[in-house]
């Protein structure tokens, strides 16, 4: 008999500024103390496949919580209508995102089965946000899946996203696993090389894997760039990485 019982449901958590926001929690049942993982959804939004990712983490023995970063733009609306409202607003503010992710971390730490260690993983825009989280909040391991806009020039900065995440590297406080597609244009192989150079320069712990045949979004089972072999190998690296850094709390 497999040991994969879980509870999974939409919940409400306190996010940035004390706002109540929607989140999806998938957590193992009956497996003792477990580490937590904050899942940051991709740019299309808090969709079906993002919830499936949370359940995948729960099967593997992690309590996974995904805050809907678009919730406050259209409370009570369908996920894709909320994404449309966020698009109109110019996208999520970095500071607001940090508050929402801190709320997710706090919630995971408050769970009765919490072991204490927390990982973060994000896809697409969530990969960029993951890097910012890893440089700004107290987490134990971070997985950046093809986060675009980590390496940007000063003229690409906006009021919503005022900092180039690569410039935060000196403040990075946990190991980073980076998973990238060789066919991606942002992050391009050149962006990935620049980020790696910066991590080395500051003596940070990191592990990067790039898949030559994969493009942007290769983990996304519901989207056209899903690349089976790269995704399968990427998941193996995620399990090994979290197994090493989130165990033994």
């Amino acid at each position: 008999m497999t040991d994969d019982a879980m509870r999974a449901s939409t919940i409400s958590i306190k996010g940035s500024g004390g706002d109540e926001i929607e989140a999806y929690l998938a957590a193992p049942v009956g497996r003792g103390k477990v580490s937590g993982v904050v899942v940051i959804h991709h740019m299309p939004g808090y969709d079906r496949e993002t919830k499936e990712i949370c359940r995948t983490f729960a099967v593997r023995g992690y309590a996974a919580l995904c805050p809907n970063l678009f919730h406050r733009y259209a409370p009570g609306a369908k996920w894709n209508d909320a994404a449309a409202a966020a698009r109109e607003a110019g996208g999520v503010l970095d500071d607001q995102m940090l508050g929402d992710v801190q709320g997710a971390i706090d919630h995971l730490r408050s769970l009765p089965d919490a072991a204490g260690k927390i990982g973060v993983i994000g896809y697409c825009s969530g990969g960029r946000q993951t890097y910012i989280v890893a440089c700004s909040l107290g987490v134990d391991a971070a997985v950046d899946c093809y986060g675009g806009g980590v390496v940007v020039s000063q003229d690409q900065l906006t009021p919503e996203r005022p900092v180039a995440p690569i410039d935060l590297t000196p403040k990075l406080s946990c190991p980073v696993l980076g998973l990238f597609g060789g066919q991606d244009r942002n992050p391009s192989p050149d962006h990935v090389a620049k980020l790696e150079e910066e991590l080395q320069r500051h003596g940070k712990s990191y592990e990067f894997h790039s898949y030559p045949d994969a493009g942007h979004g290769f983990f996304s089972v519901d989207y056209p760039n899903y690349h089976r072999d790269s995704a399968r190998d990427g998941w193996k690296h995620i399990w090994n990485f979290y197994g090493e850094h989130l165990a033994g709390a």
């Binding site: 733009y73 894709n80 209508d81 909320a82 449309a84 698009r87 109109e88 919503e160 942007h216 979004g217």
Partner: protein
């Protein structure tokens, strides 16, 4: 990549779908990852109001979007149409 490129324009318009007309007051035009169209990026147009559920959306690949834009401009520049405005 996630472009975050968005332009919003005020419109006076109605949109039709599934046997229902919606009054809309703005068009939000972006070029970013689509929800359904099988491309990495698409030209997205959300015709909407303050009610997020009252939205009509379209996603087009870049070539289709340009053909649509050209057709709209061509139609608006037609002499007969200009005479009616």
């Amino acid at each position: 990549m996630c472009t975050y490129l968005t332009q919003t324009v005020a419109v006076t318009a109605s949109g039709y779908s599934n046997d229902e007309w919606l009054d809309v007051d703005r068009a939000v035009v972006s070029f970013d990852h689509p929800e359904r169209t099988p491309f990495e990026h698409a030209l997205r147009i959300d015709l909407r109001t303050d009610d997020p559920a009252r939205r009509m959306a379209i996603e087009l690949d870049a070539s289709s979007a340009r053909r649509l834009a050209d057709a709209i401009i061509s139609m608006l520049d037609n002499e007969e149409v200009l005479a009616l405005r």
